[in-house]
Symmetry: C2
Amino acid sequence: MIQLPPIDGQSDIPVYRQLYAALKSSILAGDLQHGDRLPPTRDLAQQLNLNRATVSAAYALLEEDGLVNGQVGRGSFVQNKATEDGEISFATSRPSTDLFPVNEFQATAQEVLSRDLLKILQLGSPHGYAPLRNFLIEEAIAEGVFHPDRDDLLITSGCQQALDLIQKALIPAGAAVLTSEPIYPGLRNAFSQSVTVDPSAPRIEARIVTPSFHNPTGETMTLAERSQLAASPELLIEVDIYSRLRYTGDALPTIRSLSTSNQTLLLRSFSKIAFPGLRVGWVIGAKPLIQKLALAKQWTDLHSDQLSQAIMLEFARSGRLQQHLGNVLEAGRIRLQTTIKTLEQVLPQGSTFTRPEGGMNLWVTLPRGCDTASMLEKARRVDVNYLPGRYFSLSAPMNESFRLSFAGLSPQQITEGLRRLAPLFEEEARIASRYQEPLPAMAMV
Amino acid sequence: MIQLPPIDGQSDIPVYRQLYAALKSSILAGDLQHGDRLPPTRDLAQQLNLNRATVSAAYALLEEDGLVNGQVGRGSFVQNKATEDGEISFATSRPSTDLFPVNEFQATAQEVLSRDLLKILQLGSPHGYAPLRNFLIEEAIAEGVFHPDRDDLLITSGCQQALDLIQKALIPAGAAVLTSEPIYPGLRNAFSQSVTVDPSAPRIEARIVTPSFHNPTGETMTLAERSQLAASPELLIEVDIYSRLRYTGDALPTIRSLSTSNQTLLLRSFSKIAFPGLRVGWVIGAKPLIQKLALAKQWTDLHSDQLSQAIMLEFARSGRLQQHLGNVLEAGRIRLQTTIKTLEQVLPQGSTFTRPEGGMNLWVTLPRGCDTASMLEKARRVDVNYLPGRYFSLSAPMNESFRLSFAGLSPQQITEGLRRLAPLFEEEARIASRYQEPLPAMAMV
C-alpha cells in the first residue's frame, strides 16, 4: 500500500490533481522506483475513498509526464530513468555512490552537530566558515602553495562558483580568456563571451588550465609544460580538482608552487575526492585578487552553506577523508584499468584514446568520419549513455570523439557498458569508411 | 591547557609562525574566546617543548593582528570582538541565535542522515533537491501562487542568489531595474549598473519590491499599492522573505497572487524565518523565466548544497519549522514592542521612525542636520553598532537616518543598547540645531 499525503476535499485544487502531484512527488523523490507497479485504479480509489475516474485521471497525467507507463492488461508502471539500474551512464564525471562512507559521514555530522551548531546556523562570512578556512590555509602553507604575508583563501560553492566569481570580478568586459579544446562546458559557459582557444587573440587577460587529469581528456601536463606556464605573465587559473585522484605514477607539482610571480589562482574542491552533493570548494591566490573575489561572492550569495563546510572540515581533520580517499584510489585504479583493457578489445581499428593515470575521464576518438552524436541515439536504445565530442566543442566539431567517465561505475558496469557499445562502434566505423573511399581525382586545370 | 596541532620541526615554516597560525585558528574558530588569558610564555614553551622566545614571537604576531592584548604583569588576553558579549549590534538583519532549536535541529538532521544520505551526497540537479522542490511546489499550489500548467520553481542559495541569477539571465545589458530608496545594499550590488530609483528612466525592464517589512525601512505596502503593482506590465521581482515574520496585524496577499499577467517572480527563503547559515531560498515564476534562471544557476554553481535542502525539507515537513516560527513570532513581538517603546523615550524631539508590524528592521530618522555616520564612531566607543543611512543610499545621502535591526537581540540588549545611544542622539541633535539657525539673509540685488 503506498503512503500518500491526505487528499483535501475542501481545497481549491481538484482532487485528481492533488493525487497526481502526490504520486509525482513520490516518484521523483525515489519513494516509488523505476519498474514499481502502481496499484490498480480500483484499489487505490478504495484505499483513498475516491472515485475510480479520479484515480484514472491522475494516472493519465503521470503518463503524459512520461513518469508512468500504462500496459494494457498488466497495469501502470513507474518509469524513472534516474533510479533505473539498467542504464549504464558514462556521461557524468562524478564519484561512485557505492563508495560513499555512510557510517563515517554520519559520525562526523553528529560530532559537528553536537558541538558547533549555533555558529553554523547563524549568518556567516563571505570568506567562508572560519575554522574550515583556517584549516585549508594551514594545509596550503604546509604544501608550499600559500604565503601568509601575501596570500588569501576564499571558500566557494564548488569549483564552478570560483570560475563564475573570477569571470565577474577579474575579467574586464571585452577581454579574452585563453583555454584549450575540447573544453569542459561549465568552463565555456562560465566565461561565455570571453573564452578563446586562439593564442593570438587580442587582449588575453587570463589563461585557464587543468594540469592534472583534465576534463574531458584525462590528460596531464608534464613538469616542463608546468614550468613554462608558471613563467607566463598573465593571470593563470589553475583548476586542480582531480590531482588527488592519482591511481598510478608520480605526483607532479602544481603550477602555483612553481610560479614566482604570484599570478596564479589555485582552484580546489571536495566534490571529486569526496561528495559533489555538498558544495564546498576554495580558491587560493594573492590577497588583492581574493579580496575582489570575496566582494563578488558577497553579492552573489552572501556566503557558502556553513553546515557542509563544518562537516567537510571535521571529515578532513579527523582523518576520515584520507581513509575514504584510500578506498577511492584503490577502486579508481581498478576501474581505470578495466576501462583501458576493455577499450583495447572493443574499439575498431583506427581508434585512439587517452591513457590517464588518474581522474574520472578519458577521451576516445573513433576512426575518421564517425559521428558519436548520432551513435548516441543507438547507444540509448541499449541503455548506455555518454557525452559526444561536440558537447565539448568550442570551434572544432570533434564528431569522432566522446568522453568516457568511468569513475562512477563498477568494473562490471564498465565492461558490460562497453560490450553493449562494441557493435555500435563497429557499425559506425563501417559506415564512416564507406564515405572515406577516395573519389576519383578531378583533372587539375 | 590549550589543545594545539603538533608543531613540525622539519617543516620549512618557522616554528614561531606555525604556533602563531595555530593560535590564530583557535581564536578565529572561537575555541579561544574574547577575554581568555593565553598561557604564560614560559608555561606554553614547556608544554610544547619549545624555546620561550619562540612563543613570545608568536604572541607578538597575534598582537600585531589585534587578536591578543598584552597587559604588563597580567599576561596576554584574547581580543575577538566577534565573540564578545559586550557589543550590542543593531547592524545585522538576522534572527536571534538564542532562539535556534538545537535539539529539534539535531533530531531532524539525524532522520535525514539515516534515510537519504547517499542521494544527498551525490551530484544533484540545478533545479534543486527534488523532494524539497516538490514540497515547496505543493505548498505554493495550496497557497494559490503556483499554477502547475504554467509555473515552475527553482531552489537558490538564499534570496541573494536569486537576485544574482535574475540579473544575469533576465536583465539585458543597458536595461534599467526600478526600485526605491533607501535600498538594501545586496540588491544595489546584485544589479549594480542597472538599478535606478527614477521611474522615468529609459528602458525599465523590471521592478523590484519588498512589499512586506522592507529592508531597511520595515515598511509594508497596502493592498491598494499591491493591486496597482500587480497590474504593471514589466517584470516584477517580489522579494518576500520577511512576510511570515508578522508579529501583529493581518496578513496581506502577495502581489503575485493578485497578478493575472504571470509577470511576477516570487523570491523566498528559509534564512529569515529559520537559519541564515544554511543557504536555502527559492524563486517561483512562469516556466520560461525559471528555465532561464535554472540554466544560469547551472553555470554559476551547478546546484545548491543538498544536505541543507534535505534538512530544511524535513524541518518543514515535520512541523518543527512551524513550531519554531511560533517561538520566533512571540519573541519578535516583544522585541519590536520594546524597541518602539524605548525609541519613544530616547529619541530627541524632531526624530521619526517607522512602526512595522513584523520583520527585523526599522528606520530611524534624527532631526535635520544630524549625521548618523559620524555618530557611529562614538557609538562604537560605547560598544554599540548599527548601519548609518548612507549605507542604504543610491542617490540621496540620508545622513540623518539609520537602520535599527532588532530581531537578533534580547529585549535587555535592545533597551541597554538604545540607552547607551541616548546621550549620543542628544549631542548629535544639539550640534545639528546649531548649524540650522537661519543665517541673516543677504540683500538680493
